[in-house]
């Protein structure tokens, strides 16, 4: 029998790895990948909590479904943005997209 904490620790680790990817990678698409990892970790958390603490309450799964939808739409829009930026500036390196600089 697997304690809840194992799931949570795993989710935390996955989250942190995804965080590192989002913060440390130069390529924008790699950043999106890191973000997807983070979202997956969140989903794991949601479902684990549903299963262990209130399994009768279907809201946990419903929430997870919604998160899936959101993650998908977010990935789509983000990648569309990256493509648009690539068209303009021929680069997808996040460091070079510093038009909000002083």
């Amino acid at each position: 029998m697997i304690p809840l904490s194992w799931y949570l620790v795993f989710a935390a680790a996955l989250f942190c790895i995804g965080l590192y990817g989002a913060l440390a990678r130069r390529n924008s698409v790699a950043i999106i990948m890191g973000i997807e990892l983070m979202l997956n970790a969140v989903n794991i958390n949601l479902v684990a909590f549903w299963r262990y603490l209130s399994p009768a309450f279907i809201a946990g799964q419903a929430f997870a479904i919604i998160v899936f939808a959101v993650a998908a739409s977010e990935a789509a829009v983000g990648l569309a943005l990256i493509i648009s930026i690539y068209r303009r500036r021929s680069t997808v390196v996040a460091e070079d997209i510093d038009m909000l600089r002083w």
């Binding site: 029998m1 697997i2 304690p3 809840l4 904490s5 194992w6 799931y7 949570l8 620790v9 795993f10 935390a12 680790a13 942190c16 790895i17 965080l19 913060l23 440390a24 990678r25 130069r26 390529n27 698409v29 999106i32 990948m33 890191g34 997807e36 990892l37 997956n40 989903n43 794991i44 479902v47 549903w50 299963r51 262990y52 399994p55 009768a56 279907i58 799964q61 419903a62 997870a64 479904i65 919604i66 899936f68 939808a69 959101v70 993650a71 998908a72 739409s73 990935a75 789509a76 829009v77 990648l79 569309a80 990256i82 493509i83 648009s84 068209r87 021929s90 997808v92 390196v93 460091e95």
Partner: protein, 179 residues
């Protein structure tokens, strides 16, 4: 350790290694492959957590759509010297440090709370009715139809938005229209 726990550990290790390869690997396409593996591992976890439907959705949506989308994006935004450039930012050590610290904090917190060490309680109701209950929950007026519909609208917006954003600039479209 029971067999279940060994399985858990195995899948967890695989997923984490795959995740690490995603964020560390220099080659983006390889990173995308590793991402697919990580997502698959997460799907297995969903199965372990008695959320079979979610596992399928994970595979279909994440691996089938999002990962493919990512691969397309990588293809469309490549340039020749992409793989020889450094793949991490100048302050990657700061990000690593932040992640470590966060993980350390979360870990400390999680192992100290007693209620989280409980085992899984038995599933109430009929597991076969899971999908039907989920479906009904999503469209019942007195349940979660509103978030569901909102999410639909969000998807629609994302759909239209991403098409608009990703359209070529006006000059290119004008050329295309003429030719």
């Amino acid at each position: 350790m029971s067999a279940l726990q060994w399985v858990f550990l195995l899948i967890a290790a695989t997923t984490l290694v795959a995740a690490i390869m995603v964020v560390v690997g220099p080659n983006l396409v390889h990173a995308a492959m590793w991402l697919i593996l990580a997502l698959a591992g997460v799907a297995v976890f969903f199965v372990l957590l008695d959320a079979g439907f979610l596992a399928v959705v994970q595979v279909a949506v994440y691996i089938g759509a999002i990962a493919i989308l990512i691969i397309f994006a990588i293809m469309l935004t490549r340039h020749l010297t992409a793989d020889t450039e450094p793949q991490v930012t100048r302050s990657w050590w700061l990000a690593a440090l932040a992640s470590m610290v966060l993980f350390g904090g979360l870990l400390t917190m999680l192992t100290q709370i007693p209620t989280l060490t409980v085992g899984a309680p038995p599933l109430p109701g009929n597991p076969e009715n899971n999908v039907r209950d989920l479906g009904q929950a999503l469209v019942s007026l007195d349940q979660y139809v509103l978030p569901f519909e909102t999410a639909s609208v969000l998807l629609l917006a994302a759909l239209i938005g991403s098409i608009v954003i990703a359209l070529p600039p006006k000059a290119a479209r004008a050329d295309e229209a003429e030719s």
